[in-house]
């Protein structure tokens, strides 16, 4: 700690701070290009020149880059000194020699850091009369637009892409004033975080290609603080809309969650809201009808149903909507759950109960060792990005997986196990951690993992709840406790944690059984897809015919929505207010960024309206009490969120005590395991540009296990709900006896992780 002086203003600094960073903390923005708060100092652009006053008489003042100048006690630095100002203007003039003067038509205009700096620093006019350097641009795939002529060579893109996100397919090529930032050959950028190039680039080299095709000047965008609906991390976002349509999403800093970045699922998944398939009209018995009339018809049929009704909410629907549905069911005497899959419901409850001091992304990035179970890239991409900082700092990362996962390529140690082996393996690790004397009782790989965790001062343990299943979640939580590690689970759905506060394990089973047994013939589905893509859809599809009335409220055209007897279209996340509780129990509110030309109701409004029409006017009030029960008041959009109270965990722990389905004894049988990718999410699946990057549907096994089938040939899989033919791929990232399957295949076959499957050559 100390104080230095910037043009006579005292600035406090911490040891190791550079002058630029310390000044920023004090609210003074020294002009800069290549410095970035998340990427640090580089010293390349030379814009942040300041004058260092001599300590002793007789010495000359020196002009130095503030980002490379370490703050020292009593140091005197001047931003206003004529020499420093001339140096900065010299840099602007040189930077602009090659930059095109296309500001009026540039995609970046209005939020261009280069434009801001040029206006702020000067010179205002150009005297360079030479030619400008030009480049050929590359097609970088459906998400990012490339315009290299605008490049000012600040190296932010490669520092983000390579150093921060550990991507390998974008680099700095060539030298002198022809340094080229691109790929060796044209093609889609491979990183799940490539979209951040749009925000780290201080000018318009990398711009949002999707936004570009639905362009608006940024000053014409309507925005409001929002929260990403595409996974349980709950990154803070700023959607921008114009003329009643959503145009883009960018990050919004929240130190408790994501400070600087978002993943590509979050940035480009929003296109579900503008998908041509998005249902915008209400339907009754297969025909479009006025929402008012459909609402009334539903109400009348609900009254007729006389209590033989159940409600299925969703982990991707907000607290308000789920609470409204639960309140309505409570008043109508029907069961409610947010989960089509009882198994997944139990996993979420286990994971949430153990997340009472869940680690933040910043803590993950600062960990000195990490143990990961499952594919974080596919289930919580921003947790993966935080882990890449652990890798970048050369700290150990252990990845336990059943199918190929991107993080395994960065791990210092990997352990490849079949899904059914996970709980026992985690329990063995836990046993060895509790009892160091037992070393030797576990094999060398396990011993190495324990040694890594034992050595670490700040270890983190991360797991994917859907992959682990209830016993795996419980085992991993125990292990984290024994290792003294911070813990976090990637949960399935933006509000998965929140739904665990509204129901208990077993509720999902009750909803399903009430339909299976015929006690219930009317089902209200809010934002889930039990007859389509939801885990557990197999059992549901079998009972579809027993339903007399299927009411669906949703903002996307799921298989369930398409076969609804009555359908009410809902507003998309960026069009409404609501609350999500993230993986760490942080309740965050979001606000509507815009209103569609024909406004659509949010979930809680629609459900409350139904309640009103069946004479249950208190649904809305009950729902409000339920929704905010554990955070006292609705969290305000744009604030940093409210951590749920300890009572929430009391509820969760009591829920989690329920027994769960034991691990299936696969024996010699092949086990199914879910293969995800970073765009894999029920909403983002409707985003056309992002979906173009989805990997082909394949079934994946480790090489050398089945001599009778060649890779590339089609194989036939037989599960409890159906049969499927898929091409076979060999990948050493698969565990022995494990069949890696895409989500659609898992659902079609009716299996969850660890379930056994028959398969063979298709002929």
């Amino acid at each position: 700690m100390g104080t230095f002086y910037l043009d006579d203003q005292a600035i406090a600094f911490r040891d190791g701070d550079n002058v630029l960073h310390a000044a920023r903390q004090a609210g003074i923005d020294i002009p800069h290009f290549c410095y970035h708060p998340a990427l640090g100092s580089l010293g390349a652009c030379r814009l942040c020149m300041v004058e260092l006053q001599p300590r002793q008489e007789g010495e000359r003042p020196r002009t130095l880059a503030a980002c490379m100048l370490q703050a020292q006690e009593g140091m005197r630095v001047s931003l206003a000194a004529p020499r420093a100002e001339a140096a900065r203007q010299g840099v602007i003039e040189l930077t602009m020699t090659n930059h095109p003067h296309d500001c009026p038509v540039c995609d970046e205009a209005g939020e261009c850091h280069l434009q801001n700096m040029t206006v702020a620093v000067g010179p205002a006019y150009r005297r360079y009369d030479g030619t400008k350097r030009t480049f050929l641009n590359q097609d970088l795939g459906p998400l990012i637009w490339h315009d290299m002529d605008r490049c000012i060579t600040c190296y932010r893109c490669v520092r983000f892409y390579q150093d921060h996100a550990l991507g390998q397919d974008l680099g700095a090529l060539g030298s002198r004033n022809r340094v080229y930032f691109g790929r060796a050959t044209e093609g889609p950028l491979e990183s799940p975080f490539a979209g951040n190039l749009v925000e780290v680039c201080p000018t318009g080299v990398f711009t949002d290609k999707v936004f570009r095709r639905h362009f608006s000047r940024v000053w014409d965008l309507q925005t409001a603080p929002s929260v990403c609906p595409h996974c349980s991390v709950g990154c803070n976002t700023l959607p921008g809309a114009r003329a009643g349509t959503l145009r883009r999403v960018v990050h919004r800093p929240n130190r408790r969650v994501n400070e600087w970045f978002i993943c590509d699922r979050g940035r480009f998944g929003h296109r579900y809201a503008e998908s041509p398939q998005r249902p915008l009209s209400a339907r009754l018995d297969g025909r479009e009808a006025a929402a008012e009339d459909v609402m009334q018809a539903i109400a009348e049929r609900l009254v007729d149903a006389k209590g033989a009704v159940a409600g299925l909410g969703s982990a991707r629907e907000d607290m308000e909507g789920n609470a409204a549905l639960r309140s309505l069911m409570a008043l109508m005497g029907g069961w409610y759950s947010a989960h089509a899959s009882p198994h997944l419901e139990a996993s979420i409850a286990e994971a949430a109960a153990a997340s009472d001091r869940a680690t933040t992304l910043a803590d993950i990035a600062a960990a000195d060792a990490a143990l990961v179970v499952g594919d974080l890239t596919g289930h919580a991409p921003m947790m993966d990005l935080a882990l890449r900082q652990v890798v970048g700092a050369n700290r150990p990362l252990v990845v336990v997986h059943s199918v190929p996962v991107p993080l395994a390529g960065h791990a210092t140690q990997t352990l490849c196990l079949a899904p059914g082996e996970l709980p026992a393996a985690l329990a063995a690790l836990d046993e060895r951690l509790r009892n160091p004397a037992a070393s030797g009782s576990v094999d060398a790989a396990f011993e190495a993992i324990c040694a890594t965790l034992d050595r670490a001062q700040r270890p983190v343990v991360l797991g994917v709840a859907e992959t682990l299943g209830p016993p795996g979640c419980r085992a991993l939580a125990r292990l984290a406790g024994s290792a003294g590690a911070l813990l976090a689970f990637a949960l399935p759905g933006a509000n998965a944690f929140g739904t665990a506060l509204l129901s208990r394990p077993g509720d999902g089973e009750r909803v399903l059984r009430s339909v299976e047994t015929g006690k219930v013939d009317t089902l209200i589905v809010l934002g889930s897809d039990p007859f389509g893509s939801d885990p557990g859809a197999g059992r549901w599809r079998a009972v579809r015919e027993r339903l007399k009335l299927l009411v669906v409220l949703d903002c996307v055209a799921t298989a369930t929505a398409n076969q609804a007897d009555a359908f009410i279209p809902l507003s998309a996340c960026a069009e409404r207010a609501g609350t999500f509780v993230n993986y760490a129990g942080l309740a965050q509110g979001y606000a509507p960024a815009y209103v569609r030309e024909t406004p659509l109701p949010d979930a809680s409004t629609a459900v409350s309206e139904l309640g009103h029409r069946v004479g249950l006017a208190r649904v809305r009030r009950d729902a409000e009490i339920l929704a905010y029960k554990y955070c006292n008041r609705p969290p305000q959009p744009g604030r940093t969120g409210i951590q749920v109270e300890p009572a929430a965990y009391t509820h969760l722990r009591a829920s989690a005590e329920a027994d769960f389905k034991p691990v299936s004894e696969a024996g010699d049988q092949w086990q199914a395991a879910l293969m995800t990718w970073y765009g894999d999410d029920p909403l983002a699946a409707f985003a056309p540009e992002l979906s173009r990057l989805a990997p082909a549907a394949e079934v994946c096994i480790a090489p050398g296990q089945r001599g009778d089938v060649e890779p590339g040939t089609a194989v036939r899989l037989r599960g409890p709900s159906g049969e499927l033919t898929l091409p076979l791929r060999h990948d050493p990232g698969c565990a022995k006896g494990t069949l890696g399957l895409p989500r659609t295949a898992m659902v079609a076959l009716g299996v969850v992780e660890g379930d056994s499957l028959d398969w063979g050559p298709s002929s």
């Binding site: 010293g43 390349a44 652009c45 030379r46 814009l47 020149m49 002009t63 490379m68 001339a86 140096a87 010299g90 840099v91 040189l94 930077t95 020699t97 090659n98 005297r127 360079y128 030479g130 030619t131 350097r133 000012i152 060579t153 190296y155 700095a172 060539g174 030298s175 002198r176 004033n177 022809r178 340094v179």
Partner: protein, 422 residues
């Protein structure tokens, strides 16, 4: 004067191990292995041996800065990325006497107690790298390289790395990045390479000519070394002269030999019918000296006192009849092309300068161009990240001032006054 570094240069082929040994080769290594490293550091310190790669930093001070207690592993890097225009002395050592280079690396490695040595060779010197690799293999076979060298218990292996070829790779921190397989941009200092160099370990980077003196100093003593020089210089120096002279070449001469002797006696003076106009004393990245400076002893302090830099001491002569602007354009074109592209002043400033220079030479100069050029010099050199741009600006800025009249004449005439003069 005795030929020290070039004693085997008369041979048609580089000497093989036996031949090199027969001429007293590896005696310096034997002498070194019998001494204590700290004593040898003091010995070399007394000679004030300085780096001949351009910067002229005293080698003993480098050793002392790193200290005897630096953590292991420690690396020794020999910089043979000789890319400075006008400098072609290092290649002679590499091509003509590789065992001398190996002996120098071994002795220095022992003084530094280094764990591994890398020889970083300019891409265009691929043949020299091959010659050196052959010699290393020969020496390894004879127990001179590798484990337990000559039974001393000292281990040192040497790897030769051929550069992919860029001027900036000769900058020591860019060289380290290149060796690590990274983009060869210079690194920020501090930390200095002797603190955190190759892969973060203490690393000392040396010029090949400097290092070749070390075995001789160790075996024959500092007094002998000092006595080799003249006019305030110590030891011998591989001097070279090129440009518009009758006999461009290189010669091993006493350090401190005057520019007049080099240009006129050894290089045969300017081309027939022309006068010497100016010369760059130490490769392109130094300021011009004038005929009035011809009696300056070519050694570090005297050249600095005359207002330039000793650099690598590869003299480039400029004679009458050649357009000095074209000369500056040639130099600046090289630097604009070789800029690594890391920092703005260098990357974008040098091409800006180049455009103006070419415009003037092409007869499209404007009043005020000279002031604009000088203003750009003042903005590029002091604000750049590494020493490359200051080196590029030195000949340019001094040339702009020196040839002010000629440049103004270009602008006034709208044509090059030297056209058709040759």
């Amino acid at each position: 004067m005795e030929r020290v570094l070039s004693r085997n240069f008369h041979l048609a082929e580089p000497p093989r191990l036996a031949e090199y040994r027969a001429g007293g080769g590896y005696e310096g290594l034997k002498a070194a292995l019998d001494q204590r490293p700290e004593d040898m550091i003091d010995l070399v310190d007394r000679t004030n041996l300085r780096g001949y790669g351009g910067a002229g930093f005293p080698i003993a001070r480098k050793w002392k800065s790193r200290g005897a207690d630096a953590p292991h592993p420690r690396y020794l890097v020999l910089n043979v990325d000789e890319t400075e225009p006008g400098s072609f002395k290092d290649r002679q050592l590499l091509y003509r006497d590789p065992h001398q280079v190996i002996e120098a690396v071994l002795v220095t490695g022992f003084i530094e107690q280094a764990d591994h040595a890398y020889v970083f060779v300019r891409g265009e010197y691929a043949e020299g790298a091959r010659v050196l690799e052959q010699a290393i293999a020969e020496a390894r076979e004879a127990g001179l390289v590798g484990r337990n060298i000559l039974g001393s218990g000292f281990d040192l292996d040497i790897d030769v790395h051929l550069s992919a070829g860029r001027y900036i790779c000769g900058e020591e921190t860019a060289l380290l990045n290149a060796l690590e397989g990274r983009r060869p941009n210079p690194r920020s200092k501090p930390p200095m390479p002797f603190e955190k160099g190759l892969w973060g370990a203490p690393t000392l980077v040396h010029n090949i000519e400097t290092l070749c003196h070390v075995p001789h100093i160790v075996s024959r003593g500092p007094e002998w070394f000092i006595s080799q020089g003249v006019n305030g210089g110590y030891g011998t120096k591989l001097y070279s002269v090129c440009g518009e002279v009758n006999r461009p070449g290189f010669w091993e001469l006493p350090m401190g030999t005057t520019a007049r002797e080099l240009i006129y006696d050894h290089a045969g003076g300017p081309r027939e019918g022309h006068e010497l106009v100016a010369f760059l004393p130490g490769g392109t990245s130094t300021s011009f000296l004038l005929p009035e400076h011809l009696d300056t002893p070519m050694q570090f302090d005297a050249v600095a006192a005359a207002g330039s830099r000793f650099g690598t001491c590869g003299i480039i002569a400029l004679a009458s009849g050649t357009c000095p602007l074209r000369f500056l354009i040639g130099i600046n074109k090289f630097f604009a092309r070789e800029s690594c592209g890391f920092c703005t002043p260098c990357r974008d400033g040098l091409p800006y300068v180049q455009g103006i220079l070419e415009r003037i030479e092409g007869g499209r100069g404007k009043p005020g161009d000279l002031d604009l050029l000088l203003e750009l010099c003042g903005k590029i050199a002091p604000n750049a990240f590494c020493a490359f741009a200051p080196g590029a600006i030195m000949p340019l800025e001094s040339g702009l001032r020196l040839f002010r009249d000629e440049i103004l004449e270009h602008i006034a005439r709208g044509a090059c006054p030297y056209r058709g003069v040759h």
